[in-house]
Amino acid sequence: MSVQKLPIAKAINESLRKALETDPKVLIMGEDVGKLGGVFRVTDGLQKDFGEGRVIDTPLAESGIVGTAIGLALRGYRPVVEIQFDGFVFPAYDQIVTQLAKMHARALGKIKMPVVIRIPYGGGIGAVEHHSESPEALFAHVAGLKVVSPSTASDAYWMMQQAIQSDDPVIFFEPKRRYWDKGEVNTEAIPGPLHRARVAREGTDLTLAAYGPMVKVCLEAATAAEEEGRSLEVLDLRSMSPIDFDTLQTSVEKTRRLVVVHEAPVFYGSGAEIAARITERCFYHLEAPVLRVGGYHAPYPPARLEDDYLPGLDRVLDAVDRSLAY
């Protein structure tokens, strides 16, 4: 069957399965990825079918996981490693930033680093500290890394295929609160490039740009705005490094207004980069300054306050109002 309706977590699972089947060099590594199938069950059943040599339960050591993945990649393997939660990537941050990202350049292009780092990220699941963070800007800031985040099951499937096939390291941010959202996956479709933004909904009055968990919120905002007679275009960026500024520019030239939405703190966040670039590219088209909606300059709050912290429909629509008021 080439078209299936799958939750995002299962789409990733199917994608990993396909990669393990087609390329003997692909390895899955991480804490609890084997017998348990990962704490979100994304790797469920893979060890059973491919064995402990391909789907590897690692010691509880993130620096070790990424550091050894680098070595395995040097030896010709294509490791796909799981970091259990966003807040636990930092023990590995040194290996990612100082080693993984720079290896290709330092070897004058002679070696490749086909490592995928999967990170369930973002809030909205009522978790404890360090389980709800959005550190994508910290990675996008580092040259040598690709940083992507799917928002649909189809993208989850295909972007994972592309990430594994990429000879560059890819930080693959999985929107954990969307893991159970279902969508159609056509396993025979030919996908566009990994970094290509997608127009998730067409509109004429304003562009909402988002990625990962916020795409759904923006689509809902667009539906709500329609009732007020406003036509919002929603752009799913899909990739935070590189960013598809061409698609974004086309959209903004049409709508003349842009609001960028992400969960991560606004300060020094990806919205800042997008606002600056789009202002440069579309200065004479813009009717309003590019606005940003996101998290605050505060630690991710305890679960009972996350609804206040995370951008929801109201905050997005509020920004839309402000933009349209210019």
Binding site: V128, Y296, D308
Partner: protein, 399 residues
């Protein structure tokens, strides 16, 4: 300080307290490393040449009480999670002896760095158990002042706190104080670089720190063999300080071994690694499903080593506690459970603006600006509600 001054190779205290009447501890199978034990699973007292404890009946009953109340608290928290009152709970079921034994070895001026499961140690420090629940309910990220009871905040990022403990201990030594520091962590944590680095630092600087590893056999789904090929306590040797494996379900042995390690630290002889060999009877947390990865037989075999039952057998056999004691304790447990339930249910929803509190000790312009924006944004809803109300039915609106 130099490496030489660590004096790590001083012989261990052989206190000569061996009693003529004492039974010998059962010898472990040759494949298993030695385990310090003072109370067998059947509740029989045995002696160990290096570790002696001589407790009054009252002290023994005290340890029993601590374990029973800690278990009751833990069970209540698990139930509260099931009822939706807590978002998550990390149960200590089965690890009461390791925590109460080590916790009762501490002096008030010692400092504790826990991970996220040390509810029994918190109990020994006098931390109100309901304070531990705020972070699991999702109303705060800690909820107690670490300096009140010298009990640091829970640490969720695995292994991080062992370095904090080491640094704190380095400070204690610099100050010339004779306090000791204890860091708790799990067998999984032993794989983290931070833990290895804390071993290095504590050895090099001869820090007065005790590393208390509760080897509960599992790190979520991964057994200890996925973390190490040598018994964990033997790691210490490579860093130049002693390591000892203690029966983690034996509260007396945990007390004796921890006490001895703390005294060693106080004497300026540096760190010790204590591996408490124990078992996580429940799930890793309430989000975990252990049936996916471990066999019931294993769990059942550990049930026979229950730390509470073991001490109860001893107390009863020796006539150290009567029925009245157990009945009163049962009542005390119920009262504790009830109080925990009530306090948790009454925990107020935090104020939204708390997001912006304590981000910095000094002010910060951006935080101030965002707080003001957020306040205005919230007020806009109240205005809108008020307007809706007057339009609709003339009521005041808002809420």
């Amino acid at each position: 300080m130099t490496v030489e001054s660590t004096a790590a190779r001083k012989p261990r205290r052989t206190s000569g307290t061996k009693r003529a009447s004492a039974k010998k501890a059962p010898q472990p199978k040759s494949s298993e490393p030695p385990l310090v034990q003072l109370l067998t699973p059947e509740g029989e007292r045995v002696e160990h040449p290096d570790y002696a404890v001589d407790l009054t009946p009252e002290e023994l009953r005290g340890l029993y009480r601590d374990m029973v109340l800690t278990r009751r608290f833990d069970a209540e928290a698990t139930a509260l999670q099931r009822q939706g009152e807590l978002g998550l709970w990390a149960s200590l079921l089965g690890q009461e002896a390791a925590q109460i034994g080590s916790g009762r070895a501490l002096r008030d001026d010692d400092y504790v760095f826990p991970t996220y499961r040390e509810h029994g140690v918190a109990w020994c420090r006098g931390v109100d158990p309901t304070n531990l629940l705020g972070m699991f309910r999702g109303v705060n990220h800690g909820g107690w002042d670490p300096s009140t009871n010298n009990f640091h905040l829970y640490t969720i990022v695995i292994g991080s706190q062992t370095l904090h403990a080491t640094g704190y201990a380095m400070g204690v030594a610099k100050d010339g104080a004779d306090s000791a520091v204890i860091a708790y962590f799990g067998d999984g944590a032993s794989s983290q670089g931070d833990v290895a680095e804390s071993f290095t630092f504590s050895a090099v600087y001869n820090a007065p720190v005790v590393f208390f590893c509760q080897n509960n056999q599992w790190a979520i789904s991964e057994p200890t063999e996925k973390q190490t090929r040598v018994p964990l306590y033997q790691r210490a040797q490579g860093y130049g300080f002693p390591g000892v494996r203690v029966d983690g379900n034996d509260v007396l042995a945990c007390l004796a071994v921890t006490r001895s390690a703390l005294e060693r630290a106080r004497r300026g002889e540096g760190p010790t690694l204590v591996e408490a060999f124990t078992y996580r009877m429940g799930a890793h947390t309430t989000s975990d499903d252990p049936t996916k990865y471990r066999a019931d037989e294993e769990t059942e075999s550990w049930q026979a080593k229950d730390p509470i039952l073991r001490l109860r057998r001893y107390l009863e056999r020796q006539g150290l506690a009567d029925d009245a004691f157990f009945v009163a304790l049962e009542e005390e447990s119920e009262t504790l459970g009830k109080r925990v339930r009530e306090v948790v249910r009454a925990m107020p929803q935090p104020d939204s603006l708390a997001i912006f509190d304590h981000v910095y000790a000094d002010g910060h312009a951006l935080v101030d600006e965002e707080r003001a924006q957020f306040t205005a944004y919230q007020a806009s809803f109240e205005d809108a509600d008020a307007a809706d109300g007057s339009e609709g039915n003339g009521s005041e609106g808002g809420n």
